[in-house]
Symmetry: C2
Subunit: 835 residues, 2 copies
Amino acid sequence: MARLSQIAAIHSDAPVDPARFGTRGARLNLMAGLGLPVPKGVVLSADAVAEIARSGTIPDLPEWLGQGLLSLRASPLNVEWGGPTAIMNIGICDAALPAISARVGALGAQVLYRRFVHSYATHIAGLDAEDFEASIPDGEARVATCKSMYEAETGEAFPQDPEAQLHNCLRHMARAWNRPTARILRQAKGAPADAGVALIIQQMALGIGQGLSGAGAAQIVDDQTGAPMLWGRYLAQSQGQDALIANHNAVGLEGLDEVRDALLDAGQRMTRAARDAMQFEFTLENGALSILDMQPAKRSHKAAVRIAVDLAEAGIISRRDALLRVDPRNLVDHLHPRIEPDAPRDIVTTGLSASPGAATGVMVFSAEAAMTAKSQDRPCILVRSETTPEDIRGIHAAQAVLTMRGGMTSHAAVIARGLGVPCIVGAQALQLDMARRCLHLPDGRELPEGAPLTIDGNSGQVLFGAVPMTRPSLDGSFKTLMEWADETRDMQVRANADTPVDARVARRFKVDGIGLCRTEHMFFEAGRLNVMRRMILAEDAQGRRDALDALRPMQQADFVDLFEIMHGLPVTIRLLDPPLHEFLPRGSAEITALAAEMGLSAEALKQRIRDMEEVNPMLGMRGVRVGIIMPEIYEMQARAIFGAAEAVRRNRGTTVVPEIMIPLVSANREVELIRARIEAVAAEMQAGAGDLPEYRLGAMVETPRAALRAGDLAQSSAFLSFGTNDLTQMTYGLSRDDAGRFMRAYVRQGVFAEDPFHSLDLEGVGELLLLAAQRGRETNPDLVLGLCGEHGGDPASIRFSKLAGFDYVSCSPFRVPIARLAAAQASILAAEPDR
Amino acid sequence: MARLSQIAAIHSDAPVDPARFGTRGARLNLMAGLGLPVPKGVVLSADAVAEIARSGTIPDLPEWLGQGLLSLRASPLNVEWGGPTAIMNIGICDAALPAISARVGALGAQVLYRRFVHSYATHIAGLDAEDFEASIPDGEARVATCKSMYEAETGEAFPQDPEAQLHNCLRHMARAWNRPTARILRQAKGAPADAGVALIIQQMALGIGQGLSGAGAAQIVDDQTGAPMLWGRYLAQSQGQDALIANHNAVGLEGLDEVRDALLDAGQRMTRAARDAMQFEFTLENGALSILDMQPAKRSHKAAVRIAVDLAEAGIISRRDALLRVDPRNLVDHLHPRIEPDAPRDIVTTGLSASPGAATGVMVFSAEAAMTAKSQDRPCILVRSETTPEDIRGIHAAQAVLTMRGGMTSHAAVIARGLGVPCIVGAQALQLDMARRCLHLPDGRELPEGAPLTIDGNSGQVLFGAVPMTRPSLDGSFKTLMEWADETRDMQVRANADTPVDARVARRFKVDGIGLCRTEHMFFEAGRLNVMRRMILAEDAQGRRDALDALRPMQQADFVDLFEIMHGLPVTIRLLDPPLHEFLPRGSAEITALAAEMGLSAEALKQRIRDMEEVNPMLGMRGVRVGIIMPEIYEMQARAIFGAAEAVRRNRGTTVVPEIMIPLVSANREVELIRARIEAVAAEMQAGAGDLPEYRLGAMVETPRAALRAGDLAQSSAFLSFGTNDLTQMTYGLSRDDAGRFMRAYVRQGVFAEDPFHSLDLEGVGELLLLAAQRGRETNPDLVLGLCGEHGGDPASIRFSKLAGFDYVSCSPFRVPIARLAAAQASILAAEPDR
C-alpha cells in the first residue's frame, strides 16, 4: 500500500513539490489555487511511479476520483525531459456506456469509446496505428469493430474493468519511461540516469458531446503584435490538443462569445500568477469551461517587446524584468522590413544570411548598374561573385546584396551589415555569367540581368519575383523599451560609421558616439582614388606629400561632416589601415588609364603594382606599419582631423575632441613614434591657428601581442580599442576571407562550437581581452577601453565586455538598438553576479 | 694636501680598489704582484681627480717617482667608459736633455722631446695636430722648430719645469673627463652622471733609443687557431701602442729571440692569473722588458674554442667555464667553409646573410640548370628572384643560393639553412633578366649565366670570381668541447630534417632525434608531384583516395629511410601542413601538361586552380584544417608511418615509436578528431599485421589560441611542440614573407629591438610559451614539450626553452652543434639562477 505522501491532490492548499510530483503537477496545483476550473485529480510522485514500474503495485487511489472517465498524463521532473503520450477517456466500457450517453449523448459516447479503444490498442497494447485504422470501416459499428480487431490482434477481449484499464495504463506509462529510446533521448537533454516521472490522473472534461463542446488553446495577446486580444485555436467536438495538432479544421475563437469573458478572466489570472502572458489549453463540455494546462504565450519577436513592456506598465513585472525578457538579437525585426509570415515563397536557393531584413528589386551585376538603377529610382539587388572595396557605392545604391562567395565576415557581409542593407553571401549554387549577363540557377535555368528578385536576409533565402513585406517600427513599445535600456545601462554604445550616411543612421538609433571611423573608405570615392593612387605610386616622400596635399581638404571635409552630425559626441578616427596595394587598379583598362595619367608605360605601372603584391596582405605592410614607413600619410590625416575640429568649433561653436586611433599595433614603440609625429603636427597647427588642438590618442588592439603588452601600450595611450575581427583572425591563425571554405564543416563537426567571427571566442580571444584590460588599467587607471569589432553588436560579447570592465562597445549602426538593450541586460546581470 | 688614501702605489701588496682607482689601476697592481716588469708608479683615485678638476689642486706625489720621464694614463672606473688620451714622456725639457741623452742617446732624446712637445701642444694646449705637423720641416732642428711653433701659437714659451708639465697634464686630463662630448658618450654607454676617472702616473719605459728598443703587443696563442705560440706585433723605436696603431711598419715577434722566454713566461703568468689567454703591451728599452697593460688575447671564433678547451685541460679553468666561454653562434665557423681572412674581396653587392658559410661556383638561373651543373660536377650558385618549393632540388644541387627578394625567413633562407647551404637573400640591388639570361649589377654592368661568383653567407657579400677558402673542422678541441657539452646539458637537441640527406647531416652532428619532419617536401619530388596534384584536384574523396593509394608506398619508403638512419632515436613526423594550392602548377605550360594528363581542358584546370586561391594562405585552409576536411590524407600518412615502423622492426629489428604531430591546431577538438582517425587506422593495421602499432600523438602549437588552450590540448596530446615561426607571425600579425619590406627600418628605428623571426620575442611570444608550458603540464604532468621553429637554433631562445622547462629544441641540422652548446650553457645557467 502506498504511503500517503506518494499521492498529492491537485486541489490542495498544500503546495505540490515539483521535485517529486513534476512540473505539470505543481503547475496544475497552482492553477487550481488561482480559482481556475481545473478538473479534479491526483498526482502520483516519481517514486510511486518508479515502484509501479518495478513491481507493478498500484497505490490506493482516493475514492473521490469517482466513476467518471479519467485522463492520465505525464509530469516529468524537468520540463525538457518529455514523457509518454497522455491517455484519455480511461474507464469507458460497455457497462459505463449508459451513464456516458446520458452525459454526452449516444453518439458522443460512441466517439469517446472508439477513441479510447484506439489509444489503448495502439499505446498500451502496442498495435500498429495505421493497420488498426485502415482495417476499420466507417460507420456506426466502429466501436464493436475496434473491439473485435483488438481481440483478433491481441488474443484477449478488450478490458471491461475500469480499474484494470487504469492500472494497465499506469503500469504501461511507468515502464514506457524507462525504455532505452526514451532514456537516451532525455539523457541527451541532460537528464540524470535515474531521472523520474510523476503521473497525473484527472477527471476528464469531455469536449465531445452535447451543446458547446470542444477543445482549444487560447492566449489574451495577439501572437504577431502582442496587443491585448483573445487569440487562439479551437476545434469543436475535440479533446486535448486536437485543435493544435489537426489544425486544418481548427478555427479562431470568434465564435465562443458565451465563454469569452471566462477565457479572458482565466488568461488574466494566469498572466498575473505566471508574470507572463500565457497560452492555456481548455475544454468546453456542454458550455462548461475546463482548463487543462498553460505555457508561455506564443509570440513573434515584435510581440515579445510589446508583451514585456505591457507587463511592466501594468506593474506585473519590473522594468528590469522587461529588459531581460527580450532577446536583443530579435530586435532586428523592428529595424528592417520582413517578408509577411504567410506569404508564399518561391525559393531559388539558400545562402548565408549575412545581414538581416528583406528587399525586392531588379538584379544588377555591377556597382555602376546599381548606381544607374538608383538614379532612375528603380529598386535593385546587387548580385556579384564577391564584392571589393570598389563596389561600396554600388552597395549603397542597392536595396540588397547577393554574393556567390565569401562568409559571414566577407567584404559584402561587413559592409551590408554596416549599412543595414539585407545581404546573402556564399550562395554557392548560383553561377554568375558576366559574358552573357545572366545568373545560372541550380536547376539549370538562367535569369537575365534586370529580372526581379527578393532577398530574405533573415533566412538566407533567395526568392523569385516580388513578395509582400511588413514595415519596420521604431516607436510604441520598442521606443519605451529602448528608453528603459538607456536608463539602465552604464556602458556606452558607439557605432562603426565611416560616412555621413552611417553617422545619421547611428544618430537615429540614439548612439553615444562613433567608436570606429575607417578612413580608408573615404579614399575610394570618385575623384579621390586616382590621387590616392598617385600618392601610393610616388617615387619618394615628396611625391607622396604632393598627392597628400591634394587629398587633405577632401578628407578634412569628410571629418567636418562627421563632427557636425555627431554634434560633440565622441568620434574615434582610425588612421589609414589597409595595405596600400588595395587601392591600386587591377584591370588592364584601369591600369592603362592610370599609367597615362602618371606619364608611365602600362608595363612599368604593372611592374610597380606587382612589386607591391603581398603573400599574406592581412599580415603585411598595413596599419601602423604604413604609418611608420611613410609618416607623411598619418601626418596628413592628423592635419585634416585637427583642421576639421577647428572648423566645426569656429563655424558651429561645437567643441570636438577627436579620438585618433592607431591600427595594427604590436609594440608600444609604434604608438610612441606616431605620437611624436602627431604632436609635431599639433604644434604646427597651433603656430598657425592659435590654440593647441585637443585630442586623445589611442591604440587599436588587433594582434595578440598588443593584448599581451597592453600594459606598455597603456603608458602611451588614452584609450585602447579592441578590434576583435583581426584579433580573432590572429589568435586562431584564421583569415575570415578564407575560412568560408571550411567554417560550416567545422561548426557542424563541433570543432568550433560557433563561428568565432560571429560569436566572440571567450576561451581564447576573450582571455586576451581580459588580460589586456587588466594589464592596461594596472598601468593607467584612467585608460578607456572599448570593443569595436563585429562582435560589438553581439549580445554575448557585449555582456562579456561589461564584465571585462569596458567603457563602450562599437557596432554597425543598424545593430545599435540591439547593443543598447544588450548593454542594459549586461548591467543588470553584472549587478546580480549569482544569476 | 691630499689624504694618503687618494694615492695608491702600483707596486703595493695592498690590493688596489677598482671602484676608486679604476680598472687599469687595479690591473697594473695585479700584474706587478705577478712579478711582471711593470714600471713603478701611482694611481690617483677618482675623487682626487675630481678635486683636481674642481680646484686645480694637485696632491703631493711620492718622491720615489724620481726625475725620469713619466707617463699619464686614464683608469676609468668601468672599462666601457673610455677616457682621455695618454700623454707620454712628461718631464722632458732643455735641462733634462743631457740625462736623457745619456740614457737613450742624443738622437733618441731629440725624438722623445719632439714627441712630447707634439703631444703637449695638440692634447694639452689644444693646437691643431695637422697644422702643427704640416708647418714643421724635416731635419735635426725639429725640436727647436716645434718649440717656437708652440710659442708662436700660444704666446707662451714651451714649459720647461717638469713639475709644471705634469701638473698641467693632470689638470687637463681631469677636466677633459668632464667635457660635454665625453660625458654624453659615456652616459650613452650607461655611465652615471657623476662617473669618475682615476689617473695613472708611471715611470716611462722609453722604447726609443739604444740597443733593442721598441714597443709592441704579444700573446702566447695564435690568433687564428688558438694554438700555443708567441704571436704579436712589434715596432722598433716606438712607444705605447705605435706598433698596433701605425702597423704598416710593425712586424711579427720572430726577431725578438733574446726576450722570447721572458715574453712567454710573462704570458703564462698572465694566463694563470686572468684565467684566460691574454694579450699584453710591452716595451723594450735597450733590451729590458717592461709590461704596460694586458687584455684578453685576440682570437678568431675557431681560436676561441681551442683556447677554452686548452685552458680547461691545463686545469686553469673548469670545463663548465670552458663551455660558457664560447659563444655558440660562433661555432658556425667550424661547420662551414669560410673565405680566408686576408683574401682580397671584389664586392658586387651585399644582401642579408641568410645561411652561413662561403662557396664559389658558376651562376645558374634555374633549378634545372643547377641539377645539370651538378650532374657535370660543376659547382654552381643558384641565383633566383625568390625561390619556391619547386626549387628545392635546385637548392640541393647548388653550392650556394642568392636571391633578390625575401627576408631571413623566406623560403630560400629557411631551406638553405636547413641544408647548410650558404645563402644570401634580399640582394635588392641586383636585377635578374631572365629574357637575356643575365644579372644586372648596381653599377650598370651585367654578368651572363655561367659567370663565376662567390657567396659569403657570413657577411652577406656577393663577390666576383673565385676566392680562397678555409675548410671546416669538426675534430680536435671542437670535438672535445662538444663532448663536454653533451655531458652537461639536460635538454635534448633534435633536428628539423625532412630528407635522408638532412637526417644524415643531423646524425653526423650527434643529434638526439628528429623534432620536425615536414612531410610536404616529400611530395615535391619528381614522379610524386603530379600524383599529388591529381589527389588535390580530384572531384571527390574516392578520387583523392585513389591518388593517395599511389602516394602511400612512396611516402612509406621515405619514412623507412628516416627510421633506419635515425636507428631508434625519436622521429617526429608532422602531418601535411601547407595549403594544397601550393602544390599546383603556376606556369601555362605546366598547367596544359597536367590538364592533358587529367583529361581536362586547360581552361577548366585554370579555373579549378583559381578557385583554390586564398587571400591569406598563411591563415587559410592548411594544417589540421585540411586533415579534418579531407581526412583521407592524414589517414594515408598514418598508414605510411605505421607501415614504415613495422618494416624497420621486421627488417632491422629496430623498434621505432613514431611521434605524429598535428599542425596548426587552434582547438582541442581538432586533435580529438584526428586522434580518432589515426586510432582507426592503427586498429586496421593491427587487423592486418598483428600488433597494434605503437605511436605518440602530439599537437604543434603555432596559433596564439593553441598556446592559450594548451591545458585542453594536453588532455589529448602526449607532446606539444611549439612552432615559433608561425606563432611569431600570428602573435605579431606579421607574415615573414611580407615583413622584409619594412623589418630593417623597424629594427633601425627601434620599433622592434630585433627581428622577432631571428631572435625569439620573449615579451610576447615568450609569454605565450611560458603560459602554454604551465597550463599543459598542469593538465598532464607527463607532457613532453619541445620547440621546433627556426628559433630552436638560437642560443637565447634555447636558454629560454630550458628555463621554460622544455624537454627539447629542434633546429636545422647545421645548427645542431650550436644548439648542443647552447643547451649546455642553459643547463649551467639554470643551475646558477643568480648569474
